[in-house]
């Protein structure tokens, strides 16, 4: 075997090993890079009280309430099984934060079952569609009779 062929085999083995490592890292990281609790885990008592943790979930529609007297927002997050946790924060909510969208809150769970967030981050989806197009699509999918009646 020529020296060049030997080197080629070493390099190919190296690539295989590295890709194997990459695959394993990917496996290990599946959504578990840092601990993210769901509302279900909170209700099941899996979340340590008084420690800084993160809670993810969907912001429940119609649940966002801002205080009139102080800088405070209160909302409910849901998971797919409709478990609910109330989150209170006195920080600025990011621009993307909306009801019906995903969020990640970092803070502490207190004995009263309310999660006091130090930081609230918003997530967004992979849709880069203008608002107008979306509205038109919605209209097109609404039966004509309803549009005529003015019900959208």
């Amino acid at each position: 075997m020529k020296a060049r062929q030997k080197r080629l085999i070493f390099v190919l083995l190296g690539i295989v090993a590295v890709m194997g490592a990459s695959f394993l890292i990917n496996k290990a990281m599946q959504g578990n890079f840092y601990k993210l609790y769901t509302p279900k885990a909170v209700l099941a008592g899996e979340v340590p009280i008084g420690q800084v943790v993160r809670i993810g979930g969907l912001v429940k529609k119609g649940s966002l309430k801002r205080s009139n007297t102080k800088m405070e927002a209160r909302f409910i997050v849901l998971d797919r099984n409709k478990n609910e946790v109330t989150i209170v924060t006195n920080k600025i909510l990011p621009d993307l934060f909306k009801e019906g969208k995903s969020q990640v809150a970092r803070g502490v769970l207190k004995e009263d079952g309310i999660f006091y967030a130090e930081e609230v981050l918003a997530k967004h989806d992979a849709n880069y569609m203008p608002t107008e197009v979306k509205d038109i699509l919605k209209e097109e999918h609404t039966p004509i009779t309803k549009v005529k009646e003015g019900v959208k």
Partner: protein
Amino acid sequence: MTFSWFKYAAPINFYPLAGKVIPLFWFLAITLTSFGLYWGFFQTPDVLSDQKQYYRIIFVHVAASWMGMWLYAMMVFWGLVGLVFNTRLSFMMAKATSTTGALMAFIALISGAVWGKVSWGTWWDWDPRLTMSLILMFLYIGYIALHSAIDNSRRADKAAAVLSLVGLAIVPVIYYSVNCPNPNECSSLHQESSFKGVESNILLGMLITALGFWMYSFATILMRVRNIILEREINTKWVSEL
């Protein structure tokens, strides 16, 4: 006369060829990037279903992130070709690629931080993709540092090529880091990447800008490799005749 690729593996033949194509790559880089950015900034919707004007940083951010990953793969490729065939030029290409790659990784991180601040609400988060992109930039810096720490350039080439191969594990991890079955239980702030939900003008601006960044990378890499050739072949007859 047949055209031979191996002819241009010799620095003496590659040097003038690179000199000829560099202006072409610069021309394409400037045209495509300015067209892509023009299209992205002026021919796309102002407000998206959930993001406002600030989403337009996507045209720089995505192009730079792609280049950061592609150039890393390219750098590893040249290093491995050098390791197997012992060709001088491929090691020089790998070295020349590292600096542009590091720049692209840096631009991706900075533009991502700015975008993250306005949309997610934070400059930085230990989101898997962010963390791995940071490591990618450190790998580039590590490559450059290791290369310059070894005086003998042939040894430096080989050591750096092996290091870059090990780091290649990171690239697929960045790519797949947001594919998580349920987005609500996924710690990643990045959304899943797909072209399906992207408006066609946005997609066009993004792809053209990315092409422009490719051309810029080729232009700068070739300019740098010409310098490296001169530096390393300084004692040869053809360089002294230049």
